[in-house]
């Protein structure tokens, strides 16, 4: 009695939940309506079966419950009934499978004229590459990968020289134009998913996989990695911005071609020395840092990281948050560097300064910090030396008090949450797992790494 009632309630409740709850597919933003239609057909077929069988079962439980003197009917089998049910099931399966296979045929058939964009996955971010004017992507190889050539472009391939390199997790695409997305991974399995596009494909090291779609409306869309790729898998996010054609073109041309990235001169330390004079006041002549003035140690820090942060300050991606008191002091200083060349030069000069470990200033439980550092080490290196490939700066021997404030800033969204800060959000995810005490413990442990 109760069981029959509960079964009916669960069936009714499930159907109501499906129609009334706010959680369902987000509005589609691509040409893959056929996928949504197949899902709808599948819902109707399976929903019908779900309701009918379960209500019939509830009926049986109620109608044929044990009553004294009412034995069960004896009927070992009924071929006709079983045959009919098999036939009906087969028809139901065909009703779902047939549109499914047609939709799949379209999904894997890329229009001939679709332009190509490449997505490069690595632990734990996305980068992108467009073919340049020649419409063809240059060849790549893992052995070319370095801090100067993060895409692993073949320097001798003429086709690659005009490729446009997007060294950020944000990709722009023109609306209403089909696009073929070629997917590549340079370390482990990753995945490229945009829920609203209903498109998804894994990225496999050693293989180029693909998918295609036509974005049908403008807007910002999240990119997720949906193939487990290690500790920071959950923080591997990107963004697709679908623009009108002119805005897309403007965005695309603001990025350098491979040839341009190669001609960027390495910084000139001698030219950087006078520029550094501005920095001396706070960061010290040897770039050793000064806690009293809230200026961290710079010497020994990775050059790519210093360059990125200077650019972030210049762009307003850092040092613009209301609560970022000291960041706001840094922003106008960074603005004194006129262009990329100036930034390169000053960084080159900092590189020549002696790297003496900053004195410890934070007290905490280094042993506890050691256990917590396991997670940090995945990106920052097992001994905190920093890893270019994971966009993780050096931690060991740097200012520990600065580390503590920055972790707090990341956690509170004061740093890293700006829309233009491409690599900040990832650290935000990670800093969120720490409380104040753990932060001190970590800093105390990192102080032991020297």
């Amino acid at each position: 009695m109760v069981l029959a009632g509960v079964l009916v309630l669960l069936v009714v409740g499930s159907v109501l939940f499906h129609y009334l709850s706010p959680w369902y597919f987000t509005p589609i933003a691509s040409n893959w309506d056929t996928i949504d239609e197949t899902v709808t057909i599948t819902f109707w077929v399976t929903g019908f079966v779900f309701v009918v069988i379960n209500l019939f079962m509830a009926y049986c439980v109620l109608r044929y419950r044990h009553r004294k003197g009412k034995p069960a009917h004896y009927e070992p089998e009924n071929k006709k009934l079983e045959g009919a049910l098999v036939l009906a099931t087969t028809l139901g399966v065909i009703a779902m499978l047939a549109p499914g296979l047609f939709a799949w045929a379209k999904f894997i058939d890329v229009p001939k004229d679709a332009p190509v964009v490449e997505v490069v996955g690595r632990q734990w971010n996305f980068n992108y590459r467009f073919p340049g004017a020649d419409g063809a992507l240059g060849t790549v190889d893992a052995r070319f990968i370095s801090a100067e050539n993060p895409f692993g472009m073949n320097p001798d391939d003429p086709k690659g020289q005009d490729d446009i390199l997007i060294s950020s997790p944000e990709l722009h695409l023109p609306v209403n134009k089909p696009v073929k997305v070629e997917l590549r991974s340079i370390d482990v399995l990753h995945d490229f998913t945009v829920p609203q596009f209903r498109a998804k494909m894994n990225m496999v090291p050693g293989l180029v996989t693909y998918l295609w779609f036509t974005p049908t409306r403008t807007g910002d869309f999240d990119v997720y990695c949906m193939q487990l790729c290690g500790i920071a898998h959950f923080a591997m996010r990107g963004k697709v911005v679908v623009d009108e054609e002119p805005a897309f073109k403007a965005w695309q041309s603001s990025h350098p071609t491979f040839a341009q990235t190669r001609t960027q001169v390495a910084g000139d330390a001698a030219a950087g020395k006078p520029l550094y004079a501005v920095c001396t006041a706070c960061h010290g002549a040897q770039a050793e840092g000064n806690p009293a003035l809230n200026a961290p140690k710079l010497s020994g820090q990775a050059d790519w990281y210093l360059r990125r942060q200077l650019k972030n300050f210049k762009l307003g991606a850092r040092g613009t948050h209301d609560k970022d008191v000291f960041g706001k002091m840094m922003a106008p200083m960074a603005a004194t560097l006129a262009d990329d060349a100036a930034i390169n030069n000053v960084v080159a000069y900092i590189k020549t300064l002696p790297d003496t470990p900053a004195p410890p200033t934070v007290t905490g439980n280094a042993k506890k910090g050691h256990d917590a550092f396991e997670t940090c080490g995945a990106c920052h290196g097992a001994d905190g030396q920093g890893t270019w490939a994971t966009n993780a700066p050096r931690l060991k021997g740097m200012s520990d008090w600065y580390l503590v404030t920055q972790l707090k800033n990341f956690k509170e969204g004061i740093r890293g949450a700006h829309a233009k800060d491409m690599y900040g959000p990832q650290m935000g995810f990670m800093a969120a797992i720490l409380d104040a005490q753990e932060t001190n413990d970590l800093a105390a442990y990192i102080d032991t790494l020297r």
Binding site: P22, W23, T42, Y64, D191, P205, E374, I433
Partner: protein
């Protein structure tokens, strides 16, 4: 309407060799520790599997705390979250469900149900358990090594499984692989036993088409496992031996690993599902006092599902980057497997139809299973159909689907089966009130966990994410849903303590069961003693005269006729003779007619 009658054999002589030589142990240790009695080994398997399953249950509770209330619990970080995910999955699928169904129920029920004194190779059977225990201990040891167990996900996909960005990439992964290798060694010893016992040690009159579906389910699952697990070693071993040196050649394919993994991994689903299908058929039949509807079709469906399960593996890989044309083939085979599976569901429900339904605790779990399995099976039609899988794969929809279909469903059967056979194992009945409480919370609670979870998948919430954080596409309300799911999960998890308490309390205080409390037909309920002694059946093995489902036979004195009850002499008819029977059926394999039915005997 065609009605096929299931004839009883008129008479069969007792087995000529009544006693098989068994080693009867003299000491406590020989009887309960280094035991060669399949029934003791079964209990050893069951206790170990349930014990390790409790560890996995706690891990799932911790995962749910993180998903429901991110950043509230500082002891959960992104590394150990992945370790909990991985260990939860691997323990539940392999070390709990596979071991419990095959090592636990298989060991207990196969010899009793086919009318054998023990497994065919008792010593190997004993070693099987100890190797399994060793595998479990190795796996548990990985919690205590530097940087802990592997966090590569139960799929262990390379190359990340062995690279430093993944937790446990130094010790954990090695222990996991070695433990799996030992599990497979142990299982192979047990599995060969189960298959040979079913094929060779059936008592007289127990034809294949008279076997209870429980035995069919476990038998077929064991065959699948024996075929799939060597494939398992084919990727475990290379993964293991290449560990430690990153081989310096160009090549090696992560996709090949995935093919090998799923060629093992998909049949694994059915290794868990088929015993559940078999057991639930018997629970429903007994408690509806009605033969299982369409027995022969049920057997063919088990065989068909088993065969097809080796042809669908790449439906786990639609978005893996394999050749996209495989999608057509694997979507088709996958949806074809729905047909025999649906037939089984229809026949369970049709067994209830016009039955005499006793809502005992095992029956409640059986009906709960059918409901849950219908839901989980139907969502499989989403993921099996290749374009529908594109938006849903890798999301919480997948998590909800496989938990419904291969976690909650089999576990409901496990519970039903324990309530059903506990009286045979201990001689006492589990407490009914506690059992009903356990059922209602578990059944409704698990539905509350997993049904809404599908819709998180539709939103696009990825699985194996430590935290969602801010996102344009996922609404904040999804977080409230996650919190609700966590609360349901914690309640369901806590209530399992009631079940454990019941197991212990009833062992001492439960109502005495008698030999056949459910008034069932199958042989395990006809043993002279309860619990059965070593050797199971007293001086003479039972002789089987009929199929396992003679419930509510018109004209019979009771609403069940045990398989070993000789037919009544037909009044006035000729005396059935020994010779006739010997000619007809009882010696050697039974002759089958064109449709696979035993030929009517004696006429």
């Amino acid at each position: 309407m065609t009605t096929v009658t299931h004839d009883e054999s008129p008479y069969a002589p007792p087995a000529e060799v009544g006693e098989v030589e068994l080693y009867h142990p003299k000491t406590f240790i020989g009887k309960y520790i280094w035991s060669q009695d399949a029934k003791v080994i079964a209990v050893q398997y069951a206790i170990t599997a349930i014990g390790v399953g409790l560890v996995a249950l706690v891990l799932s509770g911790i995962m749910r705390l993180q998903l429901g209330f991110p950043h509230e619990f500082s002891f959960i970080n992104p590394s150990n979250y992945l370790q909990f995910v991985t260990m939860h999955g691997m323990i539940m699928v392999i070390y709990l469900l596979t071991a419990l169904f095959l090592g636990g129920f298989g060991n207990y029920l196969i010899p009793l149900m086919v009318g054998a004194r023990d497994m065919v190779f008792p010593y190997v059977n004993m070693v099987s358990y100890w190797v399994y225990l060793f595998a479990v201990l190795l796996l548990m040891a990985s919690f205590f090594v530097p940087s802990g167990p592997t966090g590569a996900g139960w799929t262990l996909y390379p190359p990340q499984a062995i690279l430093p960005g993944t937790p446990g990439a130094n010790w954990g992964i090695i222990l996991m692989l070695i433990s799996l290798a030992f599990f497979i060694i142990g299982f192979t010893m047990g599995g060969l036993n189960y298959v040979v016992t079913v094929l060779q040690a059936r008592t007289r009159g127990m034809t294949m088409m008279r076997l209870p579906l429980t035995v069919w389910g476990i038998f077929m699952a064991t065959i699948l496992a024996l075929l799939a697990f060597p494939l398992g070693t084919s990727f475990f071993m290379p993964a293991l031996v290449s560990r430690g040196e990153h081989l310096g050649y160009n090549g090696g394919s992560p996709i090949l690993f995935q093919h090998l993994f799923w060629f093992f991994g998909h049949p694994e689903v059915y290794i868990v599902a088929l015993p559940a299908f078999g057991i639930v058929s018997d629970l429903i039949s007994v408690n509806a006092r009605k033969n299982i509807f369409g027995y022969r079709m049920m057997v063919w469906a088990i065989l068909a599902i088993g065969g097809l399960s080796f042809m669908v593996w790449a439906h786990h890989m639609y978005v893996s980057g394999m050749n996209p044309y495989f999608g057509f083939f694997f979507a088709t085979t996958t949806l074809i497997i729905a047909v025999p599976t649906a037939l089984k569901v229809y026949n369970w429900v049709l067994t209830l139809w016009k039955g005499d339904i006793h809502l005992t605790v095992p029956m409640l779990f059986a009906i709960g299973f059918v409901f849950t399995f219908i839901n989980g099976g139907l969502t499989g039609l989403f993921l099996g159909n290749v374009p529908v899988d594109i938006p849903l794969s890798g999301t919480m929809f997948v998590v909800a689907h496989f938990h419904m279909v291969m976690a909650v469903s089999p576990i409901l059967v496990v519970f039903g089966a324990i309530y059903h056979w506990y009286p045979k194992v201990t001689g006492r009945i589990l407490n009914d009130t506690l059992g009903k409480f356990h059922f209602w919370v578990t059944f409704i609670g698990t539905y509350a966990i997993y049904y809404p979870m599908h819709y998180l998948g539709f939103l696009g919430v990825p699985r194996r994410y430590y935290a969602m954080g801010n996102s344009v596409v996922i609404p904040d309300s999804a977080q409230s849903l996650n919190a609700g799911i966590t609360i349901a999960a914690l309640i369901v998890g806590a209530v399992q303590a009631v079940f454990l308490y019941n197991l212990i309390w009833s062992y001492f205080r439960g109502k005495p069961a008698g030999g056949n409390p459910w008034r069932a037909t199958t042989l395990e309920w006809q043993t002279p003693e309860t619990p059965p002694k070593h050797g199971n059946f007293g001086p003479e093995l039972p002789v089987v005269y009929r199929w396992a489902y003679d419930y509510s036979v018109p004209g019979a004195a009771e609403d069940f006729i045990p398989q070993n009850q000789p037919p009544a002499k037909t009044p006035g008819g000729p005396e059935k003779t020994l010779e006739k029977t010997l000619d007809a059926a009882e010696l050697g394999p039974q002759k089958l007619d064109a449709s696979g039915m035993p030929k009517p005997v004696g006429g």
